[in-house]
Amino acid sequence: MFAPRLFGSGKIRGGVHPDGRKDATSDRPILTNLPLPSRLYVPLNQHSGDDALPLVRPGDRVLKGQLIGKASGRVSASIHAPTSGTVLAIEAVTMPHPSGLPAMAVIIEPDGDDRWIEIPTPPDPFSLDPDVLASKVEEAGVVGMGGAIFPAAIKLRQGRRFEIQTLIINGSECEPFLTTDDRLMQERADEIVEGTRLIRKIIEAYRAVIAIEDNKPAAIAAIQAAANKVGAIEVMVVPAHYPMGSAKQLIQAVTGLEVPAGKRSNDIGVLVHNVATAWAIQQALVYGKPLLSRVTTVAGACVAQPQNVEVLFGTPIEHVFKVCGGLTGVPARLLMGGPMMGQILPSLDVPIIKGSSGVLALSKAEVNAHTSSPCIRCARCVDACPMGLVPLEMARNSRADKLDAAQEFGLRDCILCGSCAYVCPSHIPLVQYFEYAKGELADRRSSQQKQEYTKGLIDARKERLEQERLAKEAAKAAKEAAKAAKDAARAAAKAEKEAAQAKTQHPESTTTSPADNCVREEQP
């Protein structure tokens, strides 16, 4: 084992400093207990991995917190009813993704009572076994809420298999506009710190650090005060520097270590969870509450009252905007997530899901709508890349479909943070090229796997046929040998008989008998 390095310099390579634009929402409290929408569209896949299996049928009555989708497959997460009501249908709805592709969802008509399913008072989580705690996190359907939406329990169990030096709780929130983690840290600091302690208990980390960017002084103060109460939790202030919130970059800033290419942070003894995930884990373990809602930043110049709201999963985005005073004018762009990595929304009907950190309605002045011009090789993208890659060459090769060369220039390590495209004076949509190239490579890999599988089958068949042929030949040879032996024996017997007869007639000819020769040849 290498000597652990506990302290990083707080710095990352490259990166950019986009205009934060967080003031509109960072000082306003989270709006909770929103009026219920007339329908909730709860997708069965709000996580990375396989769809949850629906446990309800149209017409069923469900209670708040009731399990309606069971995790199935190797990577999956459970889905619970966000409120009480009636299941209207289980059908495909448009998902918050630019493709507008549909996915299966449980459509619930709320009854307005918001009646909870009965939850037994859980035992003190600090007295429980870590594996039991991980299972409880799994049952609560908690996923990574910073954007990765990877099932949290799987990550915790992975962490248990490694010697974790440092648990990092990510409160950096480097995306412009978004203040959901900021508000959560300001308002629910004790819960986050307790969640951090619980995660630390589960993975048995030596050290737990809550890392917060220096542009959130109120959150830093709140978390520091909460951490001081319990001790043993460090608060590290990192510079506001995009993409500080990316796990690899934050690990570098906090520990000074780099995650080796193609490896996981576990391999260098680090595990990163988002502050909102820490909060959700605390709610699940201390109160037994499944994950039913999240805090989302609603912002952008086209929102009348920008603020953070705690929204039930499945709430249509249109309803969320309505709660925030509606839209003022037609937005130039509607996004889910921040402006650096967020995705364009195909419609206002799409639901809020577990990974929705923000919904933005941006005005024309807030978006980049320039058409692109040719690359002038200014290499600003090279300076801005936090991964040390060469985006201009990656794009040039991706455009020419030279994907191997694009991989060599860094496509294989690209985290799609968009720093390169943010600084490109030619307004080239670099990330779009990289996403295309990555998709193309994935296709090639899978078709190659298919080919290899088919080739394996063909080879196996060839070998089988060859073995059959050999077996047949061997059998034939054996048969022939047996026959030959028989013949030879017969010939020998005959020869002996003849010799015996001849002896009686011409005794001198014994040694030159042709039958003698014949027998010698036939019997190797």
């Binding site: 270590l257 290419a261 206002l348 978006v367 040390g388 060469v390 968009g418 004076p425």
Partner: protein, 374 residues
């Protein structure tokens, strides 16, 4: 779940931008060039102004023609790249060169050096330097005639009409001057680089000669014979440092190019002062400063990585020293830059930044490597 409520463009993230643009970059470079050029125009008067304007107009006209022929939108003219090529080329010309040297050269540079490669961003060589070398080889007489400084408004300076005759009709202004009552013998002379080359050839002790005659302060401030926009090392330095401060260019190429030139010149003059001028002479004469800050730093034709840039600049400096010391031309900035331009794709192929989580060679980082790096 029915209506698609908005006509939204499908576009990948990021949706924000730092508001930089190609035209703004080109504008900043022009702005940084302008003090030195303005001083040159003042120093060499109306003929220089006319040559400068003609060259710029020719550059824009050629660009427009090429864009049209390539079927590209004429808005591309607004990126300012052709203007900058014309400007840089004009800055390296003898101040009173005939109009066709300016117009023809820049047209050649833009057509052959840029648009035949596919236009902006695609060219292998710096178009301005390609044009400079082409006219230097083709018309050596016109390209080595250096007029004495005759600032605007001074007694000997030609007026606007005289200037038109000088630039467009090749008028013999020297004859006009010698006929004047003040009786000026010589209007032109060799550049300092040319003179030092001649001195070396004649067996003069260069070190002694320069120590006695070379006006270092004038060479630094710019009141000296030389090209239209490159006489004032001081003003070019100011513009170049501003470009670095404004993050338009990085320090790597200017520092390594000037550093390598100075190092070579210092070593050579230290060991053989009779034959080799010292670093201050090398830095303040010819196109060394202009080349280091404005020509070698051309984005398209220089490497992308910081290490690559250092190597590129050092190569330019070394070649510049070599050509100035032993080549047949007194000045070598254009040749040195073009040669290194040709090596740029190779440099970019082999010199890349170290990627996160990998060794410099591109292998996955091991724990033992990490201890070395952190």
């Amino acid at each position: 779940m029915n209506s698609i409520t908005h006509e939204l463009p499908l576009r990948a993230a990021p949706h924000a931008h730092d508001r930089s643009s190609v035209d703004r970059i080109m504008l900043k470079v022009c702005l940084a060039l302008s003090p030195a050029t303005a001083y040159g125009l003042y120093l060499f008067g109306w003929p220089a102004i006319i040559l400068f304007v003609v060259t710029l107009l020719a550059a824009v006209a050629t660009e427009a023609l090429c864009l049209r022929l390539a079927g590209l939108p004429l808005q591309r003219l607004l990126d300012g790249s052709a203007l900058l090529t014309g400007w840089l080329y004009a800055a390296t010309l003898p101040p009173w060169a005939p109009w066709w040297i300016g117009a023809g050269g820049v047209a050649f540079g833009l057509i052959v050096g840029k648009h035949l490669y596919g236009g902006i961003g695609q060219n292998l060589f710096n178009p301005a330097m390609l044009a400079r070398v082409a006219v230097l080889i083709s018309f050596p007489v016109q390209l080595t005639t250096w007029v004495n400084p005759m600032p605007l408004g001074s007694e000997l300076a030609p007026g606007f009409v005289d200037a038109l005759a000088i630039i467009f009709a090749n008028a013999d202004y020297a004859a006009h001057l010698s006929a004047a009552p003040s009786g000026v013998d010589a209007m032109t002379g060799a550049s300092w680089l040319g003179a030092s080359k001649v001195a070396v050839g004649a067996g003069t002790d260069v070190g002694q000669w320069l120590a006695a005659d070379f006006p270092l302060t004038a060479a630094f401030s710019g009141h000296i014979r030389g090209s239209l926009g490159e006489t004032s090392a001081l003003l070019i330095l100011v513009g170049g440092l501003w470009l670095i401060w404004a993050r338009v260019i990085s320090w790597h190429i200017p520092a390594s190019m000037l550093g390598m030139l100075s190092l070579c010149a210092w070593l050579a003059s230290h060991f053989n002062g009779h034959l080799f001028p010292g670093p201050l002479f090398q830095l303040t004469t010819g196109a060394a400063m202009l080349g280091a800050f404005f020509i070698a730093t051309d984005y398209v034709t220089s490497p992308a990585s910081a290490t690559g840039k250092l190597l590129f600049g050092a190569g330019c400096g070394l070649l510049l020293f070599t050509i100035r010391s032993w080549g047949s031309f007194p000045e070598g900035v254009a040749f040195a830059v073009l040669f290194m331009n040709a090596l740029t794709p190779l440099i970019d192929r082999f010199i890349k930044p170290r990627a996160y989580g990998r060794t410099l060679g591109g292998k996955t980082l091991k724990h033992s490597d990490m201890r070395k790096i952190v």
